[in-house]
């Protein structure tokens, strides 16, 4: 068992098999630096709980492929990323810090997919981004790549 401590001083016990999916902690264990509690000053307990949930589920990735549990894992992943933007960014930051490649991939892909086929206006609204481009600049970008802006498949809703 490995003990992790979030930045709000909560401790979590995680199986070593689960936690070594994090490159960073794996290296720490290999170097013998993980004998006591590992403090994670960049991660709050709310996010850490999510990350541990993911690690525990993905503990036996290789085994899942053999026993045909891949669909189950896929479904879990789909459910897992079903969270608000704020939470998603927190998990991305945590995954990046802990260096958990699969989780990083999953969350960044989810963020990209949420913006897929969305109109520019919808993207701005979803992420509360202020438009600091002038009208001329906008027109220039559209003229540059008109194919990206045409077609009825572009979605203007913000869900």
């Amino acid at each position: 068992m490995v003990k992790l401590k979030s930045n709000d001083d909560k401790e979590f016990e995680v199986e070593e098999a689960a936690v070594i999916q994090s490159e960073m902690i794996k290296n720490m264990i290999e170097d013998g630096c993980a004998t006591s509690v590992i403090p994670l000053p960049n991660i709050d307990s709310k996010t850490l709980i999510k990350v541990i949930e993911y690690l525990n589920k993905h503990i036996n990735m290789g085994k899942a492929a053999e026993t045909g549990e891949e669909d189950d894992l896929k479904e879990f992943d789909e459910q897992f990323v079903n969270m608000g933007w704020e939470e998603l960014f927190d998990v991305i930051m945590a995954a990046n810090y802990l260096n958990i490649h699969e989780l990083m991939e999953l969350c960044c892909q989810s963020a990209a997919d949420r913006l897929k086929n969305k109109s520019v206006r919808a993207v701005r609204e979803m992420l509360k981004i202020t438009n600091d481009l002038t009208e001329e600049e906008e027109q220039e970008i559209i003229n540059d790549a008109p194919w990206a802006f045409e077609g009825p498949e572009i979605d203007d809703t913000v869900n």
């Binding site: 933007w85 704020e86 960014f89 927190d90 991305i92 930051m93 990046n96 990083m104 960044c108 892909q109 963020a111 990209a112 913006l115 897929k116 086929n117 969305k118 109109s119 520019v120 993207v123 701005r124 992420l127 509360k128 981004i129 202020t130 438009n131 600091d132 481009l133 600049e137 906008e138 970008i141 559209i142 540059d144 790549a145 008109p146 194919w147 990206a148 802006f149 045409e150 077609g151 009825p152 498949e153 572009i154």
Partner: protein
């Protein structure tokens, strides 16, 4: 201080040499490390200072959570997982995104994927020769076969109906479609059917069963010209060859393909071995009227050559091409 003793004189010179040395070293170190105070600011983001007396003297806070929380390299990670269309629109969201997306990395991976059958070396050559080394320019301007949907050619012809106990002869407008779906790997699927695009899209893939009558072939592309060929198996194996030309209704759309020629000719039994064979390689140097089986004459088809219109997968349900002939007797692909 002067000393008549030889020994102390020696002592003095030694001291002098040491002093000279340190001075020289100092000067040298000064030369290597001049004062560059701006280096201290390296890696620090400096916010522009509002002019004195300006109303917005409080610190700038970006209202966008994504900019506050995620550092640029993680924003980059998200962009790198977007398809080029989403990326193209994302460039218009704000200034920060616009400049991030100008990074050639995104466009390079999109290009190398889209033109993978040309090979990496060839793609780099084309990049230098035609697009001034800009991957982005290449993505925008180089003719590209789209793989995110289906190319559809809608053809109609008029057939005289059978008149029974009537004075006038009825005529029918018959409508059929040619469907082509391309894969980046150099293979494509073809189907000729009266079924609508929304129905065909459900099974136009490599898992299609024999009963679906989906044929597999391979294609090559050079500039805007596409050559494709497939084999109709059977007792008299026949090869179907397509000569196509890519174009778009707007620059970079690549949403039309003109059918320049559609040829069928016979092949010898011993020329082909299996359905997954490189059929294009076999007919590569054939003349237009060449056939290798006297029972199957070479034909250049003159009907059903309406240009292909691209329908992205997102639009297969809503495309006007699903309309029955009663609603749309003639369709101009544009």
């Amino acid at each position: 201080m002067y000393s008549p003793k030889v020994g102390s004189g020696e002592d003095y010179t030694v001291k002098l040499v040491v002093e000279l040395e340190t001075a020289a070293r100092l000067r040298a170190s000064h030369f290597i490390f001049p004062q560059r105070p701006w280096l201290d600011l390296y890696g620090i983001n400096v916010r522009p200072v509002p002019p004195f007396g300006s109303t917005s003297s409080k610190q700038f806070v970006d209202p966008a959570l994504i900019h506050r929380v995620l550092p640029d390299e993680l924003l980059f990670e998200i962009f790198s997982r977007m398809d080029p269309y989403t990326l193209g629109r994302a460039a218009c969201v704000c200034r920060k995104w616009r400049y991030t997306i100008r990074n050639p990395v995104f466009w390079r991976s999109a290009c190398l994927k889209a033109w993978q059958i040309a090979g990496v070396v060839e793609n780099y050559k084309v990049l230098q020769l035609k697009y001034d080394g800009s991957w982005r320019k290449m993505w925008l301007l180089r003719p590209r076969i789209r793989t995110d949907g289906i190319y559809v050619s809608r053809n109609t012809y008029i057939r005289a109906g059978v008149a029974e106990w009537k004075i006038s002869n009825p005529v029918h407008i018959v409508c059929y479609y040619r469907y082509m779906r391309f894969y980046p790997s150099g293979r494509f699927l073809y189907k000729n059917s009266s079924q609508k695009v929304k129905d065909v899209a459900k099974y136009l893939n490599f898992h299609a069963s024999k009963a679906d009558c989906v044929f597999r072939g391979n294609y090559t592309q050079s500039e805007d010209k596409v050559e494709a060929a497939l084999l109709y198996p059977g007792t008299r194996p026949t090869v179907l060859r397509f000569r196509l030309r890519l174009r778009g209704t707007t620059q970079g759309a690549n949403n039309r393909m003109d059918l320049l020629a559609l040829l069928t000719s016979g092949v010898n039994d011993n020329e082909v071995n299996g359905p997954d064979e490189d059929i294009l390689g076999i007919v590569e140097r054939w003349e237009e009227d060449e056939t290798h089986n006297p029972d199957v004459p070479a034909i250049s088809h003159k009907r059903g050559l309406t240009p292909f219109v691209f329908v992205p997968f997102e639009e297969v349900e809503t495309s006007v091409l699903n309309l029955p002939v009663e609603k749309m007797d003639y369709y101009v692909p544009g």
